[in-house]
């Protein structure tokens, strides 16, 4: 007989991608700080990005002078992602060719997204990445093994840790509670709406209603698989929730930025709205970055989105999951002899990459506090923050492309009318409530908090 398996416990320190995102993100930040204090421009040169262009000559010149840095950057990304994914269990014979493809596609995406005439139509790099990825995965049909390199969550989590370095910790402390309050009002309302429509009106099982509810209210697919496990949902119910979240998340990536552009909304309000009403971190960042780029002011959109989504919604996932586990155990399955859920689940299910985000924010806030405003803008911003931001842009593009490349609509589970309408009603309630709170009621608050701030 095989030895009984033990719970993963602290082995998750190297077996879960959240921790790797922390190591990688904080590693980049520590390196950036070392190069900054050593007055070494290495990381600044390494964090190269294609420039905005109109004539091909400028672009050709850029690549002919910077090609060495692109190659070096590629080697470094491949090495660190390759080693970590190897430990996570991915075959390198699959990961390496897939990542090479992803990196080349990322450069193409940046080039298209940086073409000035296209920018006027709102075709920014995030949307270009998504459209390109969706076209390739749904028309060309790449081999399934290539998914090894399209790690949406790993890339976005790494990007979020890097994002912490551009967000003052004081802002998190001041605006975090408001973000939590707003996000909770919307999340609870949306979750209850979907749950009651699903169970009371359409007669779906309570477990199914709860998986759909959290999928639409908290953090999309991640919430669905966290709560699905806690309430012992049927396999097909989880599949349907994943399908519904994915389809609506993709729709919202396009709807919120273009609708907001129509109303000429401030990027901070839109960031807060996306943070309240998008379903997944990756999809939300795509929408927030896209709108920020559309209006030429990315940071307020990203800051408001991050506060709302990461601080307001993501970090409470473990508690939501635990609550549903308790309800399921005490109310829904009295006949079962299962053990009572343990409160330690709150910790084990906590999205750990958020810790890296906090640490990054604290580190950079402490460093920046030693500089005056003038020094910050003249020295810290271009020499320390900018390289981190550029590398963050790379992780975001890896993520946005991966969303498209892994979203194969034909493979998603057929939802059926009842779950579809239950979820869709929740989406409408969520979007309207998010708009009212983020734009109409707290719009000015988010604008004040996220614009013109320094560390």
């Amino acid at each position: 007989m095989e030895e009984p398996k033990k719970p993963m416990g602290w082995k998750e320190l190297y077996l879960k991608e959240d921790w790797w995102a922390i190591y990688l993100g904080l590693g980049i930040i520590v390196a950036a700080i070392a190069f900054f204090y050593g007055a070494n421009p290495f990381l600044k040169s390494l964090s190269v990005l294609p420039p905005t262009w109109t004539d091909v000559g400028k672009l050709t010149e850029h690549f002919s002078t910077k090609i060495g840095w692109y190659v070096l950057q590629f080697i470094i990304w491949l090495t660190i992602f390759g080693i970590s994914t190897r430990i996570l269990g991915f075959k390198q014979s699959e990961y390496i060719p897939s990542f090479i493809f992803l990196y080349i596609l990322s450069i193409i995406t940046f080039i298209i997204g940086a073409y000035k005439p296209l920018k006027h139509w709102g075709f920014e790099a995030p949307l270009v990445a998504l459209i390109l990825g969706l076209l390739i995965s749904n028309v060309v049909r790449l081999p399934k093994w290539m998914d090894s390199g399209f790690r949406v969550e790993y890339y976005i989590k790494t990007g979020i840790v890097l994002l912490g370095a551009t967000l003052p910790f004081t802002l998190i402390v001041w605006a975090g509670p408001v973000a939590f309050l707003q996000a909770t009002i919307i999340s609870v309302t949306t979750c209850l709406t979907i749950y009651f429509v699903a169970t009371k009106i359409f007669g779906l099982e309570r477990q199914f209603g709860s998986v759909l509810g959290v999928g639409g209210a908290i953090c999309g697919v991640s919430a669905a698989i966290a709560v699905g496990g806690a309430v012992k949902a049927k396999k097909e119910q989880v599949s349907i929730a994943i399908a519904l979240v994915t389809v609506w998340a993709i729709i919202m990536i396009f709807f919120i930025p273009y609708f907001s552009k129509l109303l000429n909304l401030h990027p901070a309000s839109v960031g807060a709205w996306v943070g309240s009403s998008e379903f997944a971190d990756a999809a939300g960042f795509a929408a927030a970055v896209a709108y920020g780029n559309m209006v030429g002011n990315e940071e307020p959109a990203i800051r408001a989105f991050t506060l709302m989504k990461v601080i307001g919604r993501d970090i409470w996932l473990g508690i939501w999951s635990f609550l549903f586990a308790v309800i399921s155990c005490v109310k829904w399955e009295k006949e079962e002899a299962g053990a009572r859920p343990s409160a330690s689940e709150i910790w084990w299910r906590f999205p750990k990459f958020v810790l890296g985000f906090f640490i990054a924010s604290v580190i950079i806030t402490i460093i920046s506090s030693g500089y005056s405003l003038v020094e910050y803008n003249k020295i810290v911003k271009p020499e320390l923050i900018k390289p981190i931001k550029s590398l963050r842009s790379w992780t975001f593009i890896f993520c946005f492309l991966s969303i498209g490349l892994t979203t194969r609509f034909r493979e998603l589970a057929a939802a059926g009318k009842k779950p579809f309408w239950a979820f869709t009603i929740g989406v409408v309630v969520n979007a309207i409530l998010g708009f009212v709170l983020s734009v109409l009621i707290l719009g000015n608050y988010w604008i004040q908090k996220t614009t013109g701030i320094v560390f």
Binding site: P4, P7, E17, D18, A226, K232
Partner: protein, 73 residues
């Protein structure tokens, strides 16, 4: 020792396998993240659950049975 789903032949929580079983899971999330915990699928009851104390369908794992069973599912 208290036995749980982790020792059961019907339970599979391998992240690569879960991403195949749930199409679209890796598009906006991941089976390799901490949010999933150690949840997996019980093929006997066709449910997705976090490992719990053994139920009446529990069958203890052994190498050969597990490999052949899991390769079929």
């Amino acid at each position: 020792m208290r036995l749980t789903c982790l020792e059961c032949v019907y339970f599979n929580n391998d992240p690569a396998w879960l991403e195949k079983v749930f199409p679209g899971l890796n598009a906006l999330s991941s089976a390799y993240g901490t949010a999933r915990g150690e949840a997996g699928i019980c093929s006997k009851r066709d449910i997705y659950l976090s490992p719990v104390k053994k139920c009446r369908y529990f069958e203890r794992i052994n190498n050969s049975l597990t490999d052949s069973y899991k390769s079929r599912t």
